[in-house]
């Protein structure tokens, strides 16, 4: 039997909510799939859309972007700015043909350890079913980097 495809998921998370939330998942001994690579950033407002594109071109099959719920931002408004950016970015991704199924946005607070586990599991299962992101990886493979 062929080996099951294990997707690479890159998660860009904010330091104050989702990273702490993911930490809580661990300390609560909640098990979740190990396909996710967590990248901690100060704030969702710091997550440049280029990072998402780079994640794909460097071999990610899926991306999670997560931060504090609206009104909970450590820096007052970073997540509001991020939300606007994603609203336009998603439109544009769709327009150039980037598969939106592979990008998941979420708010996970520091108290939502279970939600983080669920988010990772759902995303991993979804991307596993979609298969490797060949379309972008092929594009990246032909180039010099």
């Amino acid at each position: 039997m062929a080996e099951q495809f294990e997707p690479k998921i890159t998660a860009f998370v904010c330091n104050w909510c989702t990273y702490a939330g993911a930490d809580l998942t661990g300390t609560s001994r909640i098990k979740y799939q190990s396909n996710v690579r967590v990248i901690r950033l100060p704030c969702t407002g710091r997550i440049d859309f280029m990072m998402v594109l780079k994640a794909f071109s460097r071999g990610s099959d899926g991306v999670i972007v997560s931060g504090c719920h609206p009104n909970d931002c450590h820096y007052t408004s970073g997540n509001y700015h991020a939300r606007r950016r994603w609203m336009v970015f998603r439109d544009l991704c769709d327009f150039v043909g980037i598969d939106l199924e592979r990008v998941t946005f979420s708010w996970v607070s520091a108290a939502e350890g279970a939600k983080w586990a669920e988010l990772v599991n759902d995303t991993t299962n979804k991307v596993r079913a979609l298969g490797p992101y060949k379309e972008i990886q092929q594009l990246a493979a032909v180039g010099i980097d």
């Binding site: 859309f49 280029m50 594109l53 780079k54 071109s57 609206p70 009104n71 408004s77 509001y80 700015h81 939300r83 606007r84 950016r85 994603w86 609203m87 336009v88 970015f89 998603r90 439109d91 544009l92 991704c93 769709d94 327009f95 150039v96 043909g97 980037i98 598969d99 939106l100 998941t104 946005f105 979420s106 708010w107 988010l119 379309e135 972008i136 594009l139 990246a140 032909v142 180039g143 010099i144 980097d145």
Partner: protein, 266 residues
């Protein structure tokens, strides 16, 4: 046309402006930008339907600014660019005089308020051909859209003509030129080209005046302007703000509303 030439002569003769940025005769029927610095050369100025390039891009160039106060022959999109540049504090009112060409008539617009008033009445719809292509693309499946852009952007040679021709791409240090980290590969290659054009569109969302000069400038005929148009329209649709409407800053991506509505964040 005579009216414009006389106006330019008068302005240059009395020294009210040091340079008139306008259109001159180019190869064949095309028009090219010219920089008229003396009254004697004012007869080189041309105004007709072939004058479509957005000249506002020269207003932020150090070489042009060094000449002194500038007058600019301005089609509606140029006027909008002037407002957007003003909003972004890239232009002072006393440094620029707009010679608006509105419905074939010359209108001298010396203040940003006057420009704002003048453009408010002009519809800023994009051309039917461009709208049709956007509609066609949005109706396609995501796979077909990817194929379309892979084909189009495959021709991109990264000459940066789209960037150079854009009045809003005035940053002295651009993400494209940044090599630590190297966001965009220098060589023209499939993924880098896609990233480049997405960055351009994202950075212009909410600031684009939809002049389409980037698309015209492209030497290999990629409709790059559709990407910026689409990003701009996304901003207009979702946030009700648009580029080039006012000299007061109204940049959608630098602000937010607590009740911005989205449907995709879980």
């Amino acid at each position: 046309m005579e009216e414009l030439r006389n106006k330019a002569k008068e302005l240059l003769a009395v020294g009210a402006v040091k340079v008139v940025i306008g259109y001159g005769k180019g190869t064949g029927d095309s028009r090219r930008p010219i920089f008229v610095r003396s009254a004697e050369r004012a007869n080189d100025l041309v105004v007709d339907a072939a004058c479509t390039q957005n000249l506002a891009t020269y207003l932020t160039k150090a070489e042009v600014r060094a000449l002194g106060r500038m007058a600019i022959v301005a089609i509606p999109s140029t006027l909008r660019s002037i407002l957007q540049l003003a909003a972004e504090k890239q232009l002072r009112e006393e440094n620029v005089l707009a010679l608006g060409i509105l419905d074939g008539k010359l209108r001298e617009l010396a203040t940003f308020d006057a420009i704002e008033e003048a453009v408010a009445t002009i519809p800023d719809a994009i051309s039917d051909a461009d709208q049709k292509l956007i509609d066609k693309l949005t109706a396609m499946s995501v796979t077909d859209r990817r194929a379309f852009w892979a084909e189009e952007l495959g021709r991109c040679v990264k000459c940066y003509a789209c960037r150079s021709s854009c009045p809003m791409c005035y940053c002295e240090r651009c993400t494209m030129d940044c090599n630590r980290p190297q966001w965009i590969p220098v060589a023209s290659h499939a993924i880098g080209n896609l990233e480049y054009h997405m960055v351009r569109a994202m950075h212009l969302a909410g600031r684009c005046v939809q002049c389409g000069t980037c698309g015209t400038a492209c030497p290999v005929g990629i409709p790059v302007h559709l990407l910026t148009f689409f990003a701009e329209q996304s901003v207009r649709r979702q946030f009700g703000q648009k580029g080039g409407a006012s000299a007061k800053l109204d940049y959608a991506m630098s602000t937010f509303k607590p009740d911005d509505k989205e449907t995709f964040i879980r």
